[in-house]
């Protein structure tokens, strides 16, 4: 019994270090990836009964995240949790990594809404093309066109500054005049006020 508990603890620590190592490399970690790694390290028997192994792993990871302040769980849109360590990845960055795995449409909407609410500020297309979002201009255009037709994205609006830069904002959090003024400030005004 004691041996089992000790082995369990060791596995927990290894799982924690897997999550940390992958976070340091800039990646989120899924349960499947942890499972594979644990099998490779002979901490779990190979070809286990998947649902059982996964359930075990779930409770192991729950304990690990409770024990270790830096380990966090993030639920994707697909319902699959990802794990990361805030020692190496901020929660904001982890969420972006998660978005990158999914539909760029959702990523754009989330980022635009978050920026409109939190700072508050509109988001330029250029920001979305830069790291770590790394969307191409075409991808962004496609997404924006899709949003026109789809429900749930009515709040995402566009404005163009006097320098011709396009910004996106969420009308839920910013009214058009305000968004326009902020975009103009961000794109033109503050550079004329160095």
């Amino acid at each position: 019994m004691k041996e089992e508990a000790h082995a369990w603890e060791e596995t927990r620590q290894v799982a924690a270090s897997i999550i940390r190592k992958r976070s340091e490399a800039g990646h989120l970690t899924s349960r499947r990836e942890i499972l594979q790694e644990l099998i490779e390290q002979n901490l779990l028997p190979p070809c286990p009964d998947e649902p059982v192994a996964d359930a075990d792993l779930q409770s192991l990871l729950k304990a690990a995240t409770e024990e270790n302040e830096d380990l966090k769980e993030l639920l994707g849109q697909d319902g699959v949790p990802r794990y990361f360590s805030v020692e190496f990845l901020s929660e904001t960055y982890a969420r972006i990594l998660l978005h990158k795995e999914g539909d760029p449409l959702d990523m754009i909407a989330e980022i635009v809404r978050e920026n409109s609410a939190k700072y508050p500020r509109p988001t330029s297309l250029e920001t979305l093309q830069g790291p770590p979002f790394d969307l191409t201009a075409d991808q962004i255009q496609d997404c924006l066109e899709q949003m026109q037709g789809q429900a749930g994205y009515e709040d995402i609006a566009q404005i163009r500054t006097s320098a011709g830069t396009v910004f996106l904002y969420s009308a839920t959090h910013l009214d058009p005049a305000y968004a326009s003024m902020l975009a103009e400030w961000l794109d033109v005004g503050q550079f004329n006020s160095p």
Binding site: R121, L174, A177, M181, W185, F191
Partner: protein
């Protein structure tokens, strides 16, 4: 051994009329004014009578640094230049300019805290300072040469390690919009003509001494490390421009532009800037790239970036070096240049369009041509007011109407309209040489320019596009970004305010909730700050924020700390709740000098210096009616093009009554008289300026 560390100990006095050179004891005479602008204002008050013209031999020009200059304290490479200001209109008043580079440190190593130059030499001279050996040297062979040639020739004589502050043809020709430049690209606006009027081509200084740190060296090292740990990027932006693995927050408008994939691409080979995790103090220099910031988003700026450069001892490196190979064949100028902010886009700011758009190669080439000309001829842009005036006067036909046909034909206006940078070769030299009506008028500074061309100042004051404020100078971080606080700051000086304390905070990139938290701790309430474009009515905390901003600016200008960087009240560190430390200045000062002062005590010294500036302004204006005569606000501050009411989202314009309340609260905060906006006798006495109060009292200038 000297009683205090920090100060070099001597103020160098030079009378160019008589050739007399002597020294004063810094600590004995000026300790209560710290250095920098403190020494400057003190000398002007004591020695330069009201109504002296800036170009009179009787005007004095003071190059002064503070006890922290030349030390390892981050961001201390600043020299303050105090004099009667040539562009201050309609009447010259005292003002200051500031230059970075190596000059401040070198002056300290030579053994001086300040140089006071008065009189006028019989013929062009340059001042040579090599430790104790000070000589007035013949500069006739340098007169008529640009800043660059003069600097190189002087360096051949005095050695390559000297810091040379020189004027170009603009300063020689007493063009009010002229600069003095040291270390290739570090300029102080407005001082060029004053030096020119004294026949002073340059001051070159080389020092082999050092600055003694009073405190225990291990303690000093710890304090420096602590200060470094709180640094953000340029303008103390504490949040990266794009999401980084280590950062909870990001702000695309941040000057912290480093990221994986962002490289100094014109460096051979290229240098990756990386994620610049804030605890890694060995990568502070990679955080900022003002080329990427100002030349355009995406890859444009990075493509031409060689590396960073800047003032002595500063890890931020805001003067970026750029290499644009196309300019050497196209314009015959060196392909390498460096500068930052308004200096960087001096050339670009004249043009209204470019063949390949506002962020294309031609725009960058115009920056290169502009720097090449302006930093050699020594022309000042007055914080880009020169270019804004040019554009407005061009567009409304004034230039065409003021120039005779002959002169008008001598400019290739088609080149200007096309956005051909070679147009600058026609315009800028003529400003420096005062050639023709346009060249002469543009070099006067806005106030005298409007007067010369019979344009009422009101026309500029109601047009927000001019950014004009008062006395011939533009706004500098005002209501358009910092509401009432910004307005208050801009009323207080005799040129553009040059205060960044407030905007370094408001633009630091932290989410608004966190900014409010910090503001509450610093100025008494989260209501001290508003989100830009969602301004709220005035309150007493905003007045405190304004006072703090002003006092810290004055403190930095006296200590030699860079107000483009400090104060350091926010930091990139999550574990500190993004807090910085409001006592950095006092800790550095106390340990370096041995004169222990806490934060409040040191702020009080700053207030003394600021009050002396106020007293000088009142004395030289001959009125105590500062509120109505000096602390004025242009009309455009109260106008919204769309007619939106103040304090609604999406507008930055202010409400007249609210601003009156703002000034009331500010004067209360300062302990000044509300009706006049003038400091009371009690206020002067509190600040240790009893004799100043007496002098003003004699002249009826106390409320």
């Amino acid at each position: 051994m000297a009683k205090y560390g920090g100060w070099a100990g001597k103020v160098l006095r030079v009378d160019l009329s008589t050739g007399r050179i002597w020294t004063e004891d810094t600590v004995e005479k000026y300790k209560d004014y710290l250095g920098g602008t403190g020494i400057g204002y003190r000398v002007i008050w004591d020695e330069v009578p009201a109504s002296t013209h800036p170009f009179d031999p009787a005007n004095k020009i003071i190059f002064a640094v503070g006890p922290l200059a030349g030390t390892g304290a981050p961001c201390n490479g600043r020299t303050a230049i105090t004099t009667l200001w040539p562009t201050c209109w309609p009447q010259p008043l005292v003002a200051t300019g500031h230059m970075g580079g190596q000059f401040a440190a070198e002056l300290k190593y030579a053994g001086y805290d300040a140089i006071v130059v008065e009189g006028k030499a019989e013929h062009p001279v340059w001042l040579s300072i090599v430790d104790k050996q000070v000589q007035i040297k013949d500069a006739r062979h340098l007169w008529g040469q640009g800043i660059r040639r003069a600097t190189i020739q002087i360096s051949e004589e005095i050695g390559p390690e000297a810091a040379v502050a020189a004027i170009g043809q603009a300063g020689e020709n007493l063009v009010p919009l002229s600069v003095v430049i040291n270390s290739f690209s570090h300029s102080a606006g407005g001082a060029g003509g004053v030096m020119g009027s004294k026949n002073l081509k340059a001051i070159a200084v080389h020092g082999t001494g050092g600055v003694r740190i009073f405190g225990d060296k291990a303690e000093w090292e710890k304090l420096i490390q602590y200060h470094l740990s709180l640094l953000g990027a340029n303008n103390q932006h504490v949040v990266p421009g794009s999401p980084q693995p280590w950062a909870e927050h990001y702000n695309p408008a941040s000057r912290w532009v480093a990221s994986r994939g962002r490289k100094w691409e014109a460096s051979t080979p290229a240098v990756e800037t990386g994620t610049c995790e804030p605890h890694n103090l060995n990568r502070i220099a990679y955080r900022t790239n003002n080329l990427a910031y100002f030349l355009g988003p995406g890859d444009i700026g990075w493509k031409y970036t060689v590396r960073g450069n800047g003032c002595t001892g500063c890890p931020i490196r805001c003067h970026n070096v750029l290499k644009v190979p196309s300019v050497s064949a196209k314009y015959g100028i060196p392909e390498v240049g460096q500068n930052t902010c308004a200096g960087l886009f001096f050339g670009r700011a004249f043009f209204q369009n470019f063949p390949d758009g506002p962020k294309g190669l031609t725009a960058i080439e115009s920056c290169m041509v502009g720097m090449h000309l302006a930093d050699d001829l020594g022309i000042w842009c007055n914080y880009s007011q020169l270019q804004r005036d040019f554009i407005k006067l061009y567009n409304n036909g004034t230039i065409k109407s003021k120039l005779g046909e002959k002169e008008s034909k001598s400019y290739s206006w088609d080149k200007y309209e096309k956005g051909d940078p070679s147009f600058l070769f026609e315009l800028l030299p003529r400003i420096a040489m005062k050639e023709g009506e346009l060249g002469t008028a543009l070099g006067l500074g806005t106030g005298y320019l409007l007067e010369r061309w019979s344009i009422p100042e009101e026309e500029w004051k109601k047009d927000s596009k001019t950014c004009y404020w008062k006395l011939g100078h533009p706004r500098h971080h005002t209501s358009d970004e910092a509401g009432q606080c910004g307005v208050i700051l801009n009323t207080q000086f005799n040129r553009d305010a040059q205060c960044h304390s407030h905007t370094n905070f408001t633009r630091n990139g932290l989410p608004f909730e966190i900014q409010k938290q910090l503001a509450a701790e610093l100025w008494g309430s989260p209501d001290a700050v508003d989100v830009i474009g969602a301004f709220k009515p005035m309150n007493v905390y905003k007045a405190r924020f304004a006072k703090w901003s002003l006092m810290r600016k004055e403190l930095h200008d006296a200590l030699s700390l860079c107000n483009y960087m400090g104060p350091w009240v926010a930091s990139p560190l999550k574990e500190r709740g993004y807090r910085g430390d409001d006592s950095i200045e006092s800790m550095l000062y106390s340990l370096a000098t041995g004169d222990r002062k806490d934060r409040q005590e040191l702020d009080q010294v700053a207030e003394r210096i600021f009050l002396l500036h106020r007293a000088l302004t009142i004395r030289d204006m001959g009125t105590k009616e500062m509120r109505t005569q000096h602390d004025t606000i242009p009309e455009w501050v109260f106008l919204d093009p769309a007619g939106k009411p103040p304090f609604t989202q999406g507008t930055v314009h202010m409400d007249r009554n609210d601003i009156q309340l703002a000034m009331d609260m500010y004067y209360d905060e300062m302990g000044w008289d509300r009706a006049t906006g003038a400091p009371t006798a009690a206020a002067y006495r509190r600040a240790g300026l009893r004799e100043v109060a007496e002098e003003l009292g004699k002249r009826g200038l106390l409320p």
